[in-house]
């Protein structure tokens, strides 16, 4: 983080109004937001989805996505109003004076070109330096971003390097023309926590090194706390508040800002017992010839919540697929309520199927878009309990009430629901079977913080009322702290450890658990610095 000795204004956005066209009409996306940025300063822009933070970030370049337009406002960058420039004039600024780092590096690199060519393309176009000088410089940037084999990595194609590496190469690409301003648009959201730490520290050090100003857009307050000097909170296209990072964290003024990290305040006292609802013993599983689970054993106590954590590729979701029978194991056995379950879905009885239900990560794709809420929830009631007519309707309405909705939702289609409501309907659908065990596969990761909190509270309430057992699969440690009794840590298809929440979260840890837990950003602006110091020692 840099201190601003000379406070020279680099970017001044005044009263920005942007409209977007969707569903056959124009909506207001930004309703008069101001933004000031000084040279060498990093501003964090946070808010939930739909807050307009990404639109604001792109507007800082004078760019709007297709289907959006700037209605009103000035974007004064270095004394020029970008809103008044033609496309042709703006192109001379884009990529050279202001550059952009996108959320998904994997999708934002052109698959047809080598990374080096893409890294230096903007600087090359502007003829900032001869190509060979730019290439050497890019290699140095790769080095300072701690990329492996910096000399040759540029000769690869995007699909040949990992997501975390791509994100760093994109930062190198943004830095190559030595811009005055970089827009980071959720650059670490798609990464695992352990990778996120590396990328964050690389980005921060390089921005520091060249004293580049930046706007850092994210929905994660703990992440922005590591990067930004100042934080601005947006909601529904309006500013909620803005202050210095330290002040914002220690003393947020607005209720809304406080609620942004309230999920982290949810606490559940841990309990466990030896009466196992489900135990899986020495499971191996494979997709085709590639083995993904190695000797996995997990016990799930009755009426409790066991969280399975790990980064992508650790085998969490595969474990869920094995338990439900979607992917038969190649070795080992599953004991459910004292009885052995057959590996294959088709060989399980209807009763066994009823007692294990699953809720998926993406409620959008988990529901048939052509079915009404009534059909979605009613179908398992009919299928498992054979209930029809009036009785079925009463049951559906009871379920809706249980998930804190009401009968006015009966005739709605999934497209007419919000993200949180959709996930609630998915929960109701699972409950309709009256199951003993519900597997929640990343059920909150696609949702905003506040909505997440609502869903987690609902799940806890349902457990208290109905005594249902949960397996909660997630990569988010904050969620784990909020909801679990026991934790299972997985890494590369193996179980690292299982135990009570307090035991897993407190030292001593196995190495991997230590790495995973220490990588979770905390609401402390010095967290990243301290962590890096600690790790280098």
């Amino acid at each position: 983080m840099t201190s601003n000795n000379k406070k020279e204004l680099l970017l001044e956005m005044k009263n920005i109004h942007i409209d977007g066209f969707s569903d056959e009409r124009w909506h207001k996306i930004l309703k008069g937001v101001d933004l000031n940025l000084y040279r060498g300063e990093i501003l964090g822009l946070i808010g939930e989805s739909g807050a307009g933070k990404s639109t604001m970030g792109k507007a800082a370049m004078g760019y709007t996505q297709p289907g959006c337009k700037i209605i009103k406002g000035e974007i004064i960058f270095n004394g020029t109003d970008l809103a008044k420039l033609t496309e042709f004039e703006k192109r001379k600024i884009w990529g050279t004076k202001i550059s952009y780092v996108a959320q998904s590096a994997a999708a934002s690199f052109n698959p047809a070109h080598r990374l080096m060519d893409q890294t230096i393309s903007a600087a090359n176009r502007a003829k900032i330096n001869p190509t060979d000088v730019l290439r050497k410089d890019a290699v140095q940037l790769y080095e300072s971003l701690q990329l492996p084999d910096a000399e040759n990595i540029g000769e690869r194609y995007p699909h040949q390097v990992s997501g975390g590496q791509l994100q760093r190469i994109m930062t190198a690409m943004a830095m190559s023309p030595r811009p005055e301003l970089i827009i980071f648009d959720e650059p670490t959201t798609a990464l695992d926590v352990t990778t996120q730490v590396e990328v964050l520290s690389a980005m921060r050090s390089i921005v520091d090194k060249f004293n580049t100003a930046a706007i850092y857009i994210t929905h994660d307050l703990a992440v922005v706390a590591q990067m930004a000097d100042r934080i601005k909170v947006l909601r529904y296209g309006e500013e909620v508040e803005e202050s210095k990072t330290k002040d914002m964290l220690s003393n947020p003024k607005e209720e809304y800002t406080k609620s942004l990290w309230s999920v982290r305040s949810l606490i559940k006292p841990e309990e466990t017992n030896d009466d196992y609802m489900l135990s899986i013993k020495n499971i191996d599983a494979a997709y085709g010839s590639s083995k993904v689970l190695h000797d996995v054993s997990v016990n799930i106590p009755r009426g409790k919540t066991v969280a399975i954590v790990g980064e992508s590729g650790s085998g969490k979701s595969t474990t869920a697929r094995v338990i439900t029978g979607l992917l038969p194991q190649t070795k080992g056995e599953i004991i459910f309520d004292g009885k052995k379950l057959s590996p294959k879905l088709e060989q399980r009885s209807k009763e066994e199927l009823r007692r294990i239900q699953i809720i998926f990560q993406m409620p959008d794709t988990a529901m048939n878009p052509k079915q009404t809420v009534d059909e979605i929830i009613g179908r398992p009631i009919e299928f498992y309990h054979g209930v029809k007519g009036k009785e079925r309707e009463t049951k559906v309405i009871d379920l809706l009430k249980m998930i804190e909705l009401d009968e006015t939702f009966l005739d709605r289609l999934p497209s007419e629901l919000s993200g949180g409501q959709k996930q609630r309907i998915c929960i109701a659908r699972a409950l309709a079977a009256n199951p003993d065990l519900i597997i929640c596969d990343e059920v909150t990761s696609a949702l905003d913080q506040i909505v997440q909190e609502g869903i987690l509270k609902l799940l806890q309430k349902l457990q208290k009322d109905l005594g249902v057992t949960y397996i909660f699969i997630t990569h988010d440690i904050a969620t784990v702290k909020a909801i679990s009794d026991e934790i299972v840590v997985m890494y590369q298809g193996k179980v690292v450890e299982q135990g009570l929440k307090s035991k897993i979260l407190n030292p001593p840890h196995p190495d991997y658990t230590e790495l995973l837990l220490s990588s979770v950003p905390e609401m402390d602006p010095d967290w990243l610095t301290n962590l890096l110091n600690k790790r280098s020692n």
């Binding site: 792109k58 370049m61 760019y63 996505q65 192109r91 001379k92 600024i93 884009w94 990529g95 050279t96 550059s99 952009y100 996108a102 998904s104 999708a107 934002s108 690199f109 052109n110 698959p111 047809a112 070109h113 393309s121 903007a122 176009r125 502007a126 690869r156 194609y157 699909h159 040949q160 690409m173």
Partner: protein, 297 residues
């Protein structure tokens, strides 16, 4: 198709024994399946056999004037390849140019009229398009000849002139499809994130299309181009007939009339292998243009 070469050539008044004699001489009395495999094994040794027509015994002549199938086909094949080659040289660049520019100015008047017009040309059968050209450019405004009658002595310039109308017809019939596919392949890619990224790094419109979108569109474009090349070659059967052009298509139709099986089989083999080879080529282009397939992880 009733009858065979023997009944066809000897006519209705032929005696049963003379038909039998001709059949046994040509091998037509054998079962068709072993006959086919015999022919096929000869083909693998480079022997396409002789044409039935022009045989000495049939004509009652002294010398055997029957011709080898290869001799018969090669000049015709050359003519057809010339026609499709010229058509492809006109149609492919034009289709790419129109497709790319339509994608570039999407939803403009230009785009709408280009896609609309291409829909009309794709939907009209080639004999219809051919006759329209004859009506316009040969009858009403006599610029080009109706009949594209070429032989081995025709000079190259004259060939271009004579084949103008068939070339126009084949171009028009295939161009629309290629143009529309090029346009949609590029538009598809224009909505991807790396295109927005390219724009935000200051790429010009031209650069976005040619450097960023096109390299990712080669596979679908190659696919549609090769399909149309094959279509041109095979569709030339109709066009050659309309313009009385001495190509392989006409030869095949004529041989079918005469039940001249060796020639028909050879033509069918050429058409089929063209299809297979061109599709293989499209797949190869798809692999070469995609680094994900060319350079594994």
């Amino acid at each position: 198709m009733p009858g065979d070469f023997a009944t066809e050539i000897l006519g209705q008044s032929a005696t049963k024994s003379s038909v039998e004699a001709l059949r046994s001489e040509l091998g037509l009395d054998k079962h068709p399946i072993p006959r086919y495999f015999e022919w096929l094994s000869n083909v693998f040794q480079g022997d396409f056999g002789s044409s039935f027509s022009g045989r000495s015994k049939v004509q009652g002549d002294q010398g055997d004037r029957s011709r080898l199938v290869v001799e018969l086909i090669i000049p015709r094949l050359k003519n057809t390849l010339f026609l499709t080659g010229v058509s492809a040289l006109v149609a492919i660049p034009l289709a790419l140019l129109l497709g790319i520019s339509a994608a570039l100015y999407r939803n403009s008047v230009y785009d709408r009229s280009a896609t609309g017009f291409s829909l009309v040309t794709v939907s009209s059968p080639e004999f219809f398009t051919g006759y329209i050209f004859i009506l316009l450019l040969a009858t009403l405004f006599p610029v080009f000849p109706t009949i594209a009658n070429v032989n081995e002595d025709t000079s190259l310039i004259e060939r271009f002139y004579l084949t103008a109308l068939p070339v126009f017809t084949l171009t028009l019939v295939t161009m629309g499809h290629m143009m529309r596919m090029t346009r949609s392949a590029i538009i598809n890619i224009l909505s991807s994130e790396y295109i927005e990224m390219a724009k935000l790094s200051g790429a010009t419109r031209y650069e976005v299309i040619v450097k960023h979108a096109l390299p990712n569109a080669w596979a679908p474009i190659a696919q549609v181009i090769t399909i149309n090349l094959a279509y041109m070659l095979i569709g030339s059967v109709v066009v050659e007939f309309v313009f009385n052009y001495q190509g392989i298509g006409r030869l095949m139709v004529g041989s079918v009339y005469n039940r001249d099986i060796p020639v028909v089989q050879a033509c069918a083999l050429i058409f089929a292998s063209t299809y297979v080879i061109l599709n293989l080529l499209a797949d190869l282009i798809g692999i070469i243009s995609n680094p994900r397939l060319l350079y594994p992880k």
